[in-house]
Structure formats: C-alpha cells, structure tokens
C-alpha cells in the first residue's frame, strides 16, 4: 500500500532570477488524495507541469509511476490525467465529440471510445447534456466534462490544477464528492492543487503547504496542527451565564471569576468577551474548569474544544513567513 506513485526529488525551476520552485522533495503514495495548498504564484502549477514533462527542469528529478517524466513525457502522459487550470474545450463541438477527440488522441479505438465516453459522461453526470455544444455548458458542467476528459484514458494518477475555481459552493461540493468517489472506486492517486483551504480539508488525505516555491510542511491535517500549535495545544471555548436561582451565595462578578480561572496553574491564556471565554492551556483542563465555574455559581451554557483547521495552519504559516 505504501507504493510511491509520484516522487519528486530536489526539483528546482527558475524563471530568470525568479525561483518558482526551490529544491522540492515530495512523494505521494498510490491511491492517496494529496492536496497541494498555497497562494497564487507559489509554484504549484510549475510543479504540476514538471510532473507531466511539460517544462524543463533546472535541477532535480521527477518520477511518476516509476517513469522519469522529463525523459519520457509520452509514457507519463499515458498514465496521468491532467485537468489544467481553467480548461478550454472546442466550443463548436458537443461534449461527446470533445471527449471522443481526446480518446482518439490517446489511441483508443473508436468503437471502444464511444462506449467509454458514454460511461464516463454518465459517471460525471453529463449524460443528458452530452449532445449539446460545449459553448452552451455552464462553468460547472465544463469542469465535470474536464473530469470526464481526464477519466477516459483510464489514468493511474489524476492531477487537478485549481479544479474548483469559479464554481458555486454547491458545485464545489458535488465536484469534490465526485472526485473522492471516483478515486476510491478505482484506486486512483489524486494530486489536487488549490488555494481554498476548506476544499482541501474536505477531501485530502494528506496536505502539502507550498509558499514561495518551498514546501513548508506536509502531512495529515491533524498532525500538522500538532506540529504548529505546540505551545497552546488546547484551547477551550466556554459560554457562561449567571444563575439567579441559586440564593445561597451571591454569584461572583465576572472579574472575580476570571481571576479564579487564572489561578488554575495550567491556564496560560484567557480572553473574556462578556459571557464568552477562551482559555488556552497546556493540558486538557475542561473538567477542572467546568467544576470551578459551576462552583462559582455560574451555569455553563457551552464548552467546546477548538479543533485546528487548515485555515489556522495556513494563517499561522503566513505569519511565520511574514515575520521572518
């Protein structure tokens, strides 16, 4: 299962003085969905082009399915389906004709191509529109046709460059579901590049964060969070409300309460906004904290542990990047 499908070793690509990709080393396992995350101009597209042998490298080597991509681009392109950013179709042809053309470029016999094309178009949900001209397709349909385009050659690897750009939220959701379903069904390795954090978070097994041509971090999202937020590993969010029914003791003021909470030795950080508290700590202190609040005569309306998302990771990296 740990078979490597894509191996990039010390890849460097320069445009004049500008270093687009700087000494990148990355490997992606077979059957994995890998997210390449980074802002515009981070070198994601250049990396992808080098995977297909469409650009000359300054340094390093790229292997896809064990084939050197710069030496044998044709062999690689037989196994890799690539959906370029903002893909274009021949508008005066129908969706089916566009697809058949690609099938013929892949040397699939015409009879089989027709069969495959209908099947793939049904897979992506375009079976009703396949005889319409692509010029009349909506953005989402074009993107799905692009996916059909990639799938018809029966690839081992799919590379998607910003595939959800310009889709509406519902379209994005459907598109991502489609990718995950197809990838799991056929065991296809997927490399997914995007600058949308949440989309990557939804579908990818592993993520690589890419800034200014460098891979800053890679791994599963949870382990990335652990790496990054080690100083404040736990953050609790609480909502409190004064309990007016308890007559034995008059409730403490908020200030007194916050003072008490700060008194707990694990607490390192405390933010108060009226009834909303955010507590940062080294350990999980939710039990001690709730006990303290209830004993102080307050009710706990909610308590939640904050999960770090990709969003936070992303911003954290940008902070690091801009500080240095």
């Amino acid at each position: 299962m740990d078979e490597k499908c894509i191996e990039i070793n010390g890849l460097t690509k320069k445009y004049g003085d500008h270093v687009a990709v700087d000494n990148l080393t990355l490997s992606i396992n077979k059957g994995e969905i890998f997210g390449l995350l980074g802002p515009n101009g981070a070198g994601k597209s250049t990396t992808i082009l080098s995977l297909l042998g469409l650009t000359a490298l300054d340094h390093g080597s790229v292997q896809v399915c064990g084939i050197d991509a710069t030496r044998y681009p044709l062999e690689v392109k037989k196994k890799v389906g690539y959906l370029p950013e903002d893909v274009g179709f021949y508008n005066e042809y129908t969706g089916l004709q566009n697809l058949l053309y690609i099938a013929r470029l892949n040397d699939i016999p015409i009879e089989q191509a027709k069969e495959d094309a209908t099947k793939v178009l049904t897979d992506v949900g375009l079976e009703e529109a396949m005889d319409n001209k692509v010029g009349s397709y909506s953005r989402g349909m074009r993107q799905r046709l692009g996916l059909a385009d990639v799938l018809i050659k029966n690839p081992e690897v799919i590379i998607l460059d910003e595939p959800t750009l310009g889709l509406d939220p519902e379209g994005v959701k459907k598109f991502l579901q489609l990718i995950v379903r197809l990838s799991r069904k056929k065991g296809i390795t997927v490399l997914f590049s995007s600058h949308h954090l949440h989309q990557i978070q939804q579908v990818c097994d592993r993520v690589g964060i890419f800034v200014k041509g460098k891979l800053l971090a890679k791994g599963e999202i949870s382990s990335l969070a652990a790496q990054l937020f080690s100083e404040n590993a736990f953050t609790l969010e609480l909502g409190i409300s004064a309990m007016s029914q308890s007559l034995n003791e008059p409730p403490l003021t908020i200030n007194a309460l916050t003072h008490k909470i700060k008194g707990l030795k694990e607490v390192e950080q405390l933010d108060v906004k009226e009834n909303h508290l955010v507590v940062g700590s080294q350990k999980d202190i939710s039990i001690a904290l709730s006990k303290l609040i209830v004993e102080s005569g307050y009710g706990l309306s909610y308590l939640s542990k904050k999960e770090y998302g990709l969003d936070d990771i992303y911003h954290q990296y940008f902070q690091v990047e801009s500080n240095s």
């Binding site: 597209s45 042998g53 389906g81 370029p84 274009g88 053309y101 690609i102 470029l105």
Partner: protein, 358 residues
C-alpha cells in the same frame, strides 16, 4: 541544462518521425507486412485524428468558405470572359504552337485579370487566413494545454496544423484547376495534350507550395504572438510589403543606377541584372516567374540575355523539363522560404512552456 532536456524531447520526436516514415515507406513497398508489424511507439492514430479534426475545422469555417467562394467566383468569372470573347481567336491562332488550355490560365479579354493573377494575388490571403490563429487561438481557448496533456509529441500539433492546411489548400487549388480545365473542355471540345496537362499539374503543385509558404508564415506569427489579431495583421502587412512596397523600394534603388542613353552594353546588362536580382528574394516574384515559365512554354529566359546567348536559338517553345529547369532556382528558393518559416515556428513552439491561457 534546460536546452538539453528540451533537445532530448525534440530529437526523440524527430527520431520518432523518421522511424514513422521508414515504417510507412516499408509498408508501401512491402504491403504484406502491414498486419504483422506493429510499432506501438509511433502515435499515428492520434496524428491522423488531429489532421482530420483540423481539416474538418477548416472546411466548416466561415473564413474558409468565404475565401474559397471569392477565389472560385473570380476564377470562373475570368474563365467565362476569356471563353466568350476570345475563344475563336484562341483556337484558330496558329494551331501548331498555341497551347489552348494554358491560355485559359494565362490569357484574358482584359476586363478581368487572368486566372494565374487571381491565384497569385488571393492565394497568399488564403494561406494567411488558414494559419493566422492556428496556435494562438488554441492557447487562448485553453485547449492547447488540454491537448498537450495527452500522450502525443508536442510537434505533432504543429505538424498536424501544417499538413491539414496543405491538404485543404491542395484540395482547393486542384479543384480550381480541374474546374477550369473541365469548363474549357466542355466549351471547346478539344482535349488537352499530355504536355498541357502536365504543365497545369506542375503549376498547381507549385502554387500549393506558394500558398503553403504564406500558411507557414502565418503559423509562425501565430506561434510567436499571443493575439490572433496581431498575427493576422502582421501576415497581411508582410504580404502588402512584398506586393506593393518592396517593388517601390526596388524602383527607387535602381533609379540611381539607371544608365544613360549612350551607356555601354555592359552597363546596361549590369543594370538589368541588378533589377532582376533585387526582386529575387520576394516570394511573389519567385512565384510569378515560376508561373510564367511553366504556363508559357515560349518563355526561354527570365533574366536579361546577351546577344551571344540568343544567337542561334530556334524560336520555338520549350519542353516541360526545360521549363522546369529554367525556374529551378526559383522553385528551390520558394521551398526554402517555406521550410525556413516552418523551422522557425517549430523552434519557437518546442521551446515554449505551455500554460493554460497564459
């Protein structure tokens, strides 16, 4: 390092091509072996698909339909004018040496220019029209990166565009030539001689070379410039330059060398020769010379001749082989220009990094 990897891709694809040609040749000469020999490395099927698509695109394109109808109308117009007016004169005139069918291509009644002028004039426009957005429009539509992501060598895109263009041009010019011959045949009832037929065929093939020069030039512009409008304008500008401005410039230059009335014959000869050589680099002139030598068998020389050279010559028409020999340098020059344009666009295209719509 960069160019090295590029070169490997380029050389590999050319070696593919040579291999492909070899197998093609072999399959032509040993037809039995076709079924048994299979070379999986040569992507002929995809290449065929690309050529077919390009031809289909050209033929369905309004640009092609309009240009083709203009040329066809102009040519048949001249043909009818020639036939209605001067038919009798053409047929009766010196039946021994007149080449009636060639006259259909070169003579007119004066109201409309003859056939060959139309081909020489509109052919370049046709070539430019077919090629000016060959690569740039694909890049703008974002289809180029999509096609390049398929397992085809990069140069086959350019080759397919070129081959498809030549096929379409050949189709058009051959059908026009046959149309003219057919109408002439019906109108007059005299079949063309083998010599005439061969001359017309040679002329048609060479006019395909001429139009494909302009096709290649405009493909070169379309590779170099991102905007189709830029490459179209540039193509037309080059065409205008060669048809109008370059002759004007040449006139200016040779004005300065114009010998006086009492100049020696040597000075006169030099003057004529200068005039001849200055126009030899422009494709229009090359084609004009080819046309006149091929379609007018009595033309014996294109440049100036001295009295000694003419001395003893029999005033008769040349056989086809001699006519071709006469314009051999021009044919070579035209082919060289065509190949040069193709080579340049090939070089630029192979080195280019293709990004979507970039």
């Amino acid at each position: 390092m960069k160019s090295k990897t590029l070169l490997t891709e380029a050389t590999k694809s050319t070696s593919f091509k040579i291999l492909g040609w070899l197998t093609k040749l072999r399959s032509i000469s040993f037809p039995k072996k076709i079924g048994t020999e299979k070379e999986p490395t040569i992507p002929w099927g995809p290449f065929k698909a690309m050529v077919q698509k390009e031809i289909g695109d050209h033929i369905r394109n309004w640009r092609f339909i309009i240009l083709f109808s203009i040329i066809a109308l102009a040519c048949t117009g001249t043909l009818f004018a020639t036939l209605s007016d001067g038919m009798k004169a053409l047929v009766t005139d010196n039946s021994e040496h007149s080449f009636f069918f060639l006259n259909l291509f070169t003579k007119s009644n004066g109201a409309l220019p003859p056939f060959f002028v139309f081909v020489g004039f509109l052919g370049p426009l046709f070539g430019i029209g077919l090629g000016f957005d060959a690569i740039s429009s694909e890049q703008q539509k974002g289809t180029l990166s999509r096609v390049l992501a398929q397992p085809i060598p990069r140069d086959s895109i350019l080759n397919a565009k070129f081959i498809a263009g030549i096929i379409v041009i050949g189709l058009m010019l051959f059908s026009l030539s046959f149309l003219v011959m057919g109408i002439g045949l019906i109108a007059v009832g005299i079949p063309p001689t083998a010599e005439e037929f061969m001359r017309i065929m040679v002329y048609t093939v060479l006019s395909i070379v001429y139009v494909s020069f302009w096709l290649n030039l405009s493909i070169l512009f379309s590779v170099r410039f991102r905007q189709p409008a830029t490459s179209a304008l540039l193509g037309i500008a080059v065409w205008l330059f060669f048809t109008i401005f370059y002759p004007l410039i040449v006139n200016l230059i040779i004005k300065g060398y114009e010998p006086s009335k009492y100049a020696s014959s040597q000075a006169l000869f030099f003057y004529k020769q200068l005039k001849f050589y200055l126009v030899q680099i422009i494709p229009n002139e090359l084609f004009d010379e080819i046309t006149s030598a091929i379609l007018t068998p009595s033309v014996r020389s294109l440049g100036p001749l001295t009295m000694e050279q003419i001395h003893g010559a029999i005033p008769s028409s040349l056989p086809l082989g001699q006519s071709v020999l006469l314009v051999w340098p021009q044919i070579t020059g035209l082919l060289a220009l065509t190949l040069l344009c193709f080579l340049l666009s090939y070089l630029i295209f192979m080195k280019r990094e293709i990004r979507s719509r970039g």
